[in-house]
């Protein structure tokens, strides 16, 4: 019997896991991360640092912005490989790559249409700006925010639903 036919290999590596398994593991990982590092899981703050570092190398005076002068004044002292949030995000990319490769299901998927290009650009900009305003994304504000018993997490949940509703209408009308 080859490895590919092995029952455990199939269930763990090859086939997708049930959503509930994912839910439990993500919750346990988030709790463990919070216990070890004293900060729960977040994704998007690192993106603003990437933007800040990049802008700085192009000579944009980001250190004068309130964001990098006050609440995130440590950001500009860090770099790509000395910022834990950055490494965590890179880890997510590599982890997903690893899981897809192990199942022999990795495939480069090219952009199919102009509509996809527009959707990716607009969607990226909206998420980036929105996450700065809302103090986090689905992870930092919703998952970790609600779990931290923060009211802003609950408000995020309500308006994420509003946004998803508007986005769904736009998707069906323009991007399908």
């Amino acid at each position: 019997m080859s490895l590919q036919e092995n029952r455990i290999f199939k269930a763990v590596i090859k086939e997708p896991w049930p959503y509930t398994t994912g839910a439990i593991l993500l919750a346990v990982l988030n709790i463990a991360l919070f216990a070890i590092s004293n900060a729960p899981w977040g994704v998007t703050t690192a993106f603003s640092y990437w933007g800040g570092w990049l802008a700085k190398t192009f000579g944009i005076p980001v250190e004068q912005w309130f964001y990098f002068a006050e609440p995130h004044r440590q950001a500009l002292k860090l770099s790509f490989f000395t910022h834990s949030g950055t490494l965590m995000n890179l880890g997510i990319i590599v982890g997903a790559l690893l899981a897809a490769l192990a199942a022999s299901q990795f495939k480069l998927k090219k952009i199919k249409s102009v509509a996809q290009v527009i959707a990716a650009i607009c969607g990226g900009l909206l998420m980036g700006y929105g996450a700065r305003l809302a103090f986090g994304c689905n992870i930092g504000a919703l998952f970790s925010g609600v779990a931290s018993s923060s009211l802003h997490g609950w408000l995020f949940m309500v308006f994420m639903f509003v946004g998803a509703w508007i986005g769904s209408k736009l998707l069906v009308k323009y991007f399908m």
Binding site: P16, A100, Q105, K109, K112, L171, M176
Partner: protein, 75 residues
């Protein structure tokens, strides 16, 4: 008893499922719809939806990260 193919390669969620729902509604009972997908999330949510609706479903992995989902319209 015809066979129809639906090309959803390169489409991101939820487009493959929406197209499948729309296409399947047009078919007659007994027809088979073959949905071609390469979105790893769609290979889970398309079969899940079809099974919940009561249609027999089979999945075939036809390439690296490419699947064909066979849905036989049951009602």
């Amino acid at each position: 008893m015809a066979e129809y193919r639906l090309d959803c390669l390169g489409e991101a969620c939820p487009v493959p499922l929406l197209k499948t729902q729309k296409k399947l509604a047009e078919l007659k009972v007994g027809d088979v719809l073959v949905v071609e997908i390469d979105h790893s999330c769609a290979m889970k949510n398309v079969p899940e939806w079809a099974r919940k609706e009561g249609h027999p479903v089979e999945i075939e992995e036809v390439g690296d990260g490419e699947w064909e989902v066979y849905i036989e319209k049951a009602k």
